[in-house]
């Protein structure tokens, strides 16, 4: 093939590819599923099915990582950790879709043993087949080249990186520094090293990480939300019961929508705004189709 022809060929195929991918993006409207109810396992299954069942995300023989927030030595009622029943429902859906293995872990802030115990995770995941609730092992953090605006490289957890499907399952709650902590911030649970360091430019740092680590599905636990004294809480009076769960493919959208549950606008949360600006997802709620189940 001549050089000219070759260039034509490559150029045109790139163009076609670019257009078609943009068309497919445009043709698929942003969808967010929302369910409400007291049966947390059921509403979780409902939001997943509203997105078109778990098999859209998990293919047979996949290794799935579910990353809930189990960061604190707090009970489920205190609304500092993701509710274990929600995680259980997700894990079961993954297995039903044919997942080879489901791994659940978080790098905790309090003592990991206490966090896993008090949060109710230990007792719930003891005898579930193909599901592993694991403690973080520090040798597994791998230096990853992020080439971001704030973080050039950082240690990330190898199991989260090597998983076929990564499902982010935060709890929606108040946070002193960032106003709210949602899915985008929940990624800190796979970060190694001195995590506190990124607090000085947290929105940029988180976008840097999300540009590299892809989240396939985001499910936000808003069954109980913490309105004040987060992210740890501890006082039941700061907890509001909403009995809601949100699911979407778009992590920024998940955060943007969850923000409204606190009576705030997506623009109020710097982390969401930065992620949107960097093209990591949608935050304009007018462009979104919300499926209420």
């Amino acid at each position: 093939m001549e050089r000219r022809n070759f260039l034509k060929f490559v150029g045109s195929s790139l163009l076609v590819n670019f257009i078609s991918s943009n068309i497919s993006k445009a043709s698929e409207p942003k969808i967010l599923a929302l369910a409400e109810g007291r049966d947390y396992e059921k509403i979780t299954r409902d939001v997943i099915n509203a997105l078109g069942s778990m098999s859209r995300f998990v293919k047979p023989n996949d290794v799935v990582v579910i990353k809930p927030n189990i960061g604190w030595d707090r009970t489920p009622e205190q609304a500092a950790n993701t509710h274990p029943l929600i995680v259980k429902a997700i894990a079961e859906e993954c297995i039903r879709a044919g997942a080879r293995k489901v791994k659940i872990f978080d790098r905790t802030c309090n003592d990991p043993r206490r966090c896993y115990e008090t949060s109710g995770f230990n007792s719930l995941f003891k005898n579930l087949k193909k599901v592993e609730l694991k403690h973080i092992e520090f040798e597994r953090f791998k230096k990853v080249n992020l080439n971001g605006k704030f973080l050039k490289e950082w240690e990330l957890y190898d199991e989260a990186l090597s998983a076929d499907v990564f499902i982010n399952v935060p709890i929606a709650k108040h946070h002193g520094l960032t106003t709210l902590t949602l899915a985008l911030k929940n990624i800190m649970g796979i970060m190694g090293g001195n995590r506190g360091y990124i607090h000085r430019n947290i929105e940029t740092a988180l976008s840097d990480i999300h540009s590299v680590v892809k989240t396939h599905l985001t499910i936000i636990d808003a069954t109980r939300i913490l309105l004040n004294h987060g992210p740890q809480g501890g006082d039941i009076r700061d907890v509001k019961i909403l009995n809601k769960v949100i699911a979407t493919k778009d992590i920024v959208l998940a955060d943007a929508y969850a923000t409204t549950l606190f009576g705030k606008k997506p623009e109020d949360i710097a982390i969401t705004v930065e992620a949107y600006r960097r093209g990591l997802g949608e935050m304009r709620l007018s462009n979104v189709r919300v499926i209420k189940v």
Binding site: D73, R114, T118, E139, G176, N194, G196, H199, I202, D235
Partner: protein, 519 residues
């Protein structure tokens, strides 16, 4: 066939129990830990006596030790030959030494040592427990052996990861089993690890010169039990060596230096009965008193009283900057009271969930050696944990209910505005506020607009401590992301400092807000 003696059988049983209790002095998913975990210390007559001598009071916690003391009146020093795990270890190691027949410790020295230590306790400095045999063994295990063991296994485990990567998970069942049942959760390196090992090593090394040398010539617990056993009614017959045999002299690990059995040193192993060719040796109950004294009681008494009195005063010195960082486990309010009761056993340090507790080094003075100090930069006091108070054998660390413990003041956090990022560098941080476990937050912040280093207006969240709420758990200092010195540090409160001089504030009615003033 080698005859298997009953005492050896019990030694092995108790050694296994001892190791089992030691390994289980660890958080395993339950908030409460069995009271039995520290039984070796609560059944310890030396702990009992040091407690009585230094606090002039009794606690029912040490009732097992009372029982053991009373049974010594009947059965002699059976503790040393049947139960003591250090004794068992000595019996095990003694075979590896080529014996050099030399008496390096004068035989009356132990009485002076015990007397001296008891009188030092009497004058308020409880250091006798530094030489408690159980404590020596537990400290060796806690500070050197166990971390080393954990670290070795961990190194292999990490090494496997480096070679096989994720395929290592095939073995994870085995490792997780070890981890959740035997291994320490963290492989902490403790200060005094070598020193603890060295003391243990010396005790074992003494075997080079004599069998059960430590037990016979130094051990304060053995000496104490020996003194009591003089009254014991369980006796060996015949008292001396038989003229035609004399094998007992070689069989006996402790008491046949002379031709007559030294009752104070007989550890009731009863090997002589077992191995007697003529079946002559018997252990029988006989109430007839026979007290032979082979040392000058008066001289020992006077010497130890004097040395005790004069030495007690000189252990107290240490530098003031260490004093303000000498944070004690939650519930310790009266420093003097604490030091009198603390056994220096290291149980609290072993169990501490986040490895916040470390043994005091000589930096904190000789008197504080091996007592627990909370070092927040290395680990913090977990808000919902009450384990240290539960395992403390003498309740030098009080056993607090969770509700009570959450309010107990360990110290108070103070910002160092020359280091803290929002103050010193004008950048946001707030990691401390995020981690503060107090539901209402003892660290709060105010939002201000200031010029940063480039002259740009920025919105800054500046943290401050609410003194009335801070309990000094130290998580803020622990998580402070500054790499060297933390921007927030926990210090002793004024009242806790004062307790060293004037006793507990717990007995006086000082309002909580006054207690919290940092000085």
């Amino acid at each position: 066939m080698k005859k298997f003696s009953l005492s050896l059988f019990f030694q092995i049983i108790f050694f296994i129990i001892f190791l089992f209790l030691f390994v289980n002095t660890e958080y395993r998913g339950k908030d409460e830990i069995s009271l039995a975990i520290n039984s070796f210390f609560r059944a310890n007559p030396l702990v009992l006596f040091s407690y009585l001598f230094s606090t002039f009071s009794f606690t029912w916690l040490l009732f097992p030790a009372v029982l053991l003391t009373i049974s010594t009146f009947f059965l002699g020093r059976f503790f040393c030959g049947w139960i003591c795990p250090l004794g068992t270890a000595i019996d095990f190691f003694t075979r590896f030494f080529k014996k050099v027949d030399k008496k390096i410790i004068p035989s009356n020295f132990k009485y002076y040592l015990l007397g001296f230590l008891l009188f030092v306790s009497f004058f308020g400095i409880n250091i006798i427990v530094l030489l408690d045999p159980i404590a020596i063994f537990v400290r060796f295990l806690t500070f050197s052996f166990f971390p080393l063991f954990g670290d070795s296994v961990k190194t292999v485990w990490v090494g496997l990861y480096k070679i096989f990567g994720e395929k290592r998970d095939m073995l994870s069942f085995f490792y997780n089993f070890m981890k959740s049942n035997i291994l320490p959760f963290r492989e902490t390196i403790y200060p005094l690890a070598f020193f603890s090992f060295f003391i243990f090593f010396l005790v074992i090394f003494l075997e080079r010169f004599e069998k059960r040398n430590w037990c016979k010539n130094l051990c304060p617990m053995g000496t104490l039990l020996g003194l009591i056993s003089r009254f014991s009614i369980f006796k060996r017959f015949p008292k001396g060596l038989c003229r035609d045999c004399g094998d007992c002299k070689n069989i006996c690990p402790t008491s046949f230096d002379k031709d007559v059995l030294q009752k104070e040193e007989c550890i009731m192993c009863m090997d002589c009965e077992l191995k007697c060719k003529f079946k002559r040796v018997n252990f029988i109950f006989n109430v007839k008193p026979e007290l032979n004294t082979n040392f000058s009681k008066r001289r020992v008494l006077i010497t130890s009283l004097l040395t005790g009195y004069f030495t007690a005063g000189i252990f107290n010195f240490f530098r003031d900057e260490h004093k303000s960082k000498l944070l004690r486990p939650p519930g310790v309010r009266d420093e003097r009271e604490f030091l009198k009761k603390c056994v220096r056993c290291g149980e609290c340090i072993k169990i501490c969930l986040k490895n916040a507790l470390y043994p005091c080094t000589l930096d904190y003075g000789f008197y504080n050696l091996f007592t627990p100090v909370l070092i927040p930069r290395k680990g913090y006091c977990e808000y919902n944990c009450t384990l240290c108070g539960q395992v403390c054998p003498t309740k030098a660390i009080p056993q607090l209910s969770l509700e009570h413990k959450k309010k107990e003041v360990i110290g108070i956090a103070v910002f160092d505005k020359n280091h803290c990022l929002p103050y010193a560098k004008k950048v946001n941080c707030m990691v401390c506020e995020e981690h503060c476990p107090i539901p209402k937050k003892a660290i709060r912040f105010e939002i201000v607009s200031e010029k940063d280093s480039e002259g740009k207006m920025v919105e800054l969240k500046k943290p401050y401590v609410v003194d009335e709420l801070c309990i000094g758990c130290g998580i803020c200092e622990y998580v402070c992301p500054l790499t060297s010195k933390a921007g927030i540090e926990v210090f002793k409160t004024k009242e806790l400092m004062r307790s060293e001089l004037y006793g507990s504030y717990g007995n006086t009615k000082i309002s909580r807000s006054k207690i919290k003033n940092y000085c």
